[in-house]
């Protein structure tokens, strides 16, 4: 063990998955109707559509010898429920979440928004958030220096 220990100290992370369902419409006011249609495809359909999102939250920290835990799970669950699930579950991301009034609610932007909402969790370090929009698409954000959800004018990436 001692020779291997020089490779780096052992680290433990806790991963927790949450579920919420919400609707969205990908549409940018900075693009013409035709461009919106071309860029966002069926995700631009005017009345929106929904997903069953899976949110995976990873936190790290010292395992408290008294509890065997990085963070008390009920505290983490309560924090995520209050900061994210209550605001997003069974809501329209475009209409009900202030950040997406001006910004396109892609799952990339959703990752950044949720990361920013969760980084204040005091019992452990937020490592990353990962969101499955469907079982075939997932997105991850680890706070690589972008503090804000980028402005909608930057949303030119082609979608399905």
């Amino acid at each position: 063990m001692s020779a291997r220990a020089s490779l780096g100290e052992l680290k433990v992370e806790l991963g927790r998955r949450y579920h919420f369902s919400a609707s969205h419409r990908l549409h940018s006011e900075h693009l013409t109707e035709e461009e919106n249609c071309r860029v966002f495809g069926k995700c631009n359909n005017p009345f929106g559509h929904g997903h069953n999102y899976v949110l995976e939250v990873s936190v790290s920290g010292k395992v408290d010898p008294a509890t065997g835990m990085i963070a008390n799970l009920s505290d983490l669950d309560g924090f995520v429920d209050h900061a994210v699930l209550q605001a997003f579950d069974h809501k329209s991301l475009n209409e009900d979440v202030a950040a997406f009034r001006e910004k396109v609610p892609t799952t990339e932007n959703l990752c950044i928004e949720i990361y920013n909402r969760l980084k204040g969790f005091s019992q452990a370090k937020l490592e990353r958030v990962r969101i499955e929009e469907t079982s075939n698409n997932s997105f991850e954000y680890a706070g690589d220096g972008i503090a804000e959800v980028p402005d909608a004018s930057g949303a030119t990436k082609e979608r399905r």
Partner: protein, 146 residues
């Protein structure tokens, strides 16, 4: 470098109770995990080993050998056991996902002679898991497993 991951499942019971805390504090901190007679889970363990494929066999580590190591070190110790009372490596520890993942890492690392143990991920349920890895080694494996 190539990473290989083997998944196994085992079932075990446990209870969260710290004798240094009062009954009331134990209840507050651990909630229903403190129920006196314990409860159980179907655990899923993912073990990731990284290395260069051997030029002769094309393998990082023979999966059969990894399977045998997991059988010896994990299944025989933990499957259909009570983690608090029957696994000496967990004696005196609260058998949380975090602590079990770390104990499994410490059991496996010295036994893996080909390749390097990269990550141990232990699921207590599909929505709760702990990862154990060496600092600086984890990111690539985490992505491979996600």
């Amino acid at each position: 470098m190539v990473q290989i991951t083997r998944r196994i499942e085992f079932s075990a019971s446990h209870v969260y109770n710290n004798p240094a805390l009062s009954a009331e504090e134990n209840r507050r901190v651990f909630g229903k995990c403190n129920n006196p007679h314990g409860h159980g889970h179907n655990y899923t363990l993912e073990v990731t080993v990284a290395g260069e494929p051997d030029p002769v066999t094309g393998m990082v580590l023979d999966l059969k050998e990894l399977k045998e190591i997991l059988e010896r070190e994990v299944m025989q110790r933990m499957d259909h056991r009570h983690l608090n009372f029957e696994v000496p490596e967990l004696a005196g520890k609260i058998p949380t996902c975090e602590n079990i993942a770390r104990v499994i890492w410490e059991l496996l690392e010295p036994k893996i002679k080909q390749g390097t143990l990269q990550r141990v991920r232990l699921y207590e349920s599909p929505d709760l898991y702990a990862d154990c890895f060496r600092n600086g080694d984890g990111s690539a494996a985490k992505r491979a497993g996600s």
